[in-house]
Symmetry: C2
Subunit: 353 residues, 2 copies
Amino acid sequence: MQRFFLLFSFLVVFTALLFQYCSVDHSTAPQLNALQEKANGFSEPLPAHAFAPDVPASDALLLLGKMLYHEPRISKSGVISCSSCHSLATFGVDQTPVSIGHGWQQGPLNAPTVLNAALHRTQFWNGRAADVEAQALLPILDPLEMASSEAHVVEVLSSIPAYVDLFHQAFPEHDEPLVYAHVGTAIGAFERTLLTPSPYDAFLKGDAKALSEMQQQGLEVFIEAGCQACHSGAAMGGNIFVHFITPAERASGKANPGRFEVSGRQADKHFFKVPSLRNVVHTYPYLHDGSIWDLGETVSLVAREMTGRELTANQVEQILAFLESLTGEIPADALVLPVLPASTALTPRPDFN
Amino acid sequence: MQRFFLLFSFLVVFTALLFQYCSVDHSTAPQLNALQEKANGFSEPLPAHAFAPDVPASDALLLLGKMLYHEPRISKSGVISCSSCHSLATFGVDQTPVSIGHGWQQGPLNAPTVLNAALHRTQFWNGRAADVEAQALLPILDPLEMASSEAHVVEVLSSIPAYVDLFHQAFPEHDEPLVYAHVGTAIGAFERTLLTPSPYDAFLKGDAKALSEMQQQGLEVFIEAGCQACHSGAAMGGNIFVHFITPAERASGKANPGRFEVSGRQADKHFFKVPSLRNVVHTYPYLHDGSIWDLGETVSLVAREMTGRELTANQVEQILAFLESLTGEIPADALVLPVLPASTALTPRPDFN
């Protein structure tokens, strides 16, 4: 009897200790070294998604967004979709200086990646859209890009019963949910899932070995050189506008007006949103006109132009090593192509002209 | 003891009977009704894949093929890939009368689907390629399509270490595996997996309820009208060439020469390969010039032109119901986009001109 009592007492104490141990959230208190502390000072790990906490996305909305992202019929030609210039197979860009749109026209600026774009404070190089929902609506209508119209998009989608159903499921509180603005809402929702965690996130969260020694040296140089002043936050960019004229623009004497086109203020002339450095190894060519293909050359140029620092070849190599750590994983779900529903007799036909 | 002996004897006999029962392959002897027998007379269920039994495809070859299928850098512009005109999101076609290629040029004929194409006896409308491996090599070089050259393709792929490695893995018996012909071998291997089993396959295999009553009536009409004479085999087409001039060609007085371009024989003028009816609901517009959008209109026209039969509106409706049963499932693996490796300093740059 005494032995049972002893065993019982032991179990009670052991269980109590176990509970106490488990109730402390050990994951919130990682040991950070000095470099990790510095890195967390200007950047932060990617969140799980980029939705506002009080606006959850339903499965229907996300599926609709993915379908519309790949939907060429909403373009005038019927062959251009968001994914034409922002393929997820190539990290959300087309890896060309400027994009090809309707009629083989070329755009004025390099297409930024959709990956992690939802974390940017504004959209486009000149910030003319507030968020990914507003952004998604503009290339569809741009005569140089998809060359469509709001009426055409609504007519196409309304002619296909599967889309009509899906808009009702995605926007259950609306009697007539199939409106142009909701196309942006849905595509934006899909884009808010396109975050790409990388070894740098693991490093920020406490895994000091997630970055190689050379990558850590590169991060030190990146910080010392002042790159982090602009390339900050979870997206490592996307927060502020800076004055930038590229060497190609300077040579040609024709520089894009940048944010001036949006604000009309002289002070905003040639100001561009700082691009995200996430997946930068894959989002070549670089600068707002896509005029430089080499990432090392870009790093040297931007350091010189923005901070006045002349980096050594070794420092550039180290920064390049660090930038490799920003190549992340595209969410597996996002890489699965949706199978699109068939057109009907009412669906407008492609117009190549 | 006697009871044990009896039990033992019973178990021996029971086990023997069980083995005998299991050794008969019951799946090969389904009960087929008369319509199923007729259907099996001219068509057959899709195989699991379209590889020759003695040429298995390795994982490396299939991955390489999928990557090349989605690889725009092998085109002159750097923005056109196989999937541009044969997106798997739209059943392996572009759902336009003719395709848009380099410089917004238009092709002469409607792009056939890649789905189940490996089962066709020849490739292209005029049969100018023997198999999918040979087929895949031609649009890459066509000035109207990807406008590339063999040298350009090899230069692009050789400049990217991940491709060099993958060619070695995919073709382990070759010292220098990165040659143009192997691009076709790899893309063809991927295409041999693009088979789309549908309710019709379940029906052929014995599930009489896989087709609705109206679909079965449609199948009866399809057979009675003689459609099955040309639309036969596992792909429901792709086997023979027939003479066909479309109403649009007749009206314009300009008819595509068809197989004559390949054989040079007058008897082959305006002969075209019979297209597959698999997924036909999604592979609009129809005919070799993509000149008819409505499937019912196409069914009526082709019955009239090919068999001399004037189908009633009701018969056309029934056949349309049957054709729905040929819409299949695209393999889930094939729908997963590959993430493509980055270019290097040696990779040729896009040329939009």
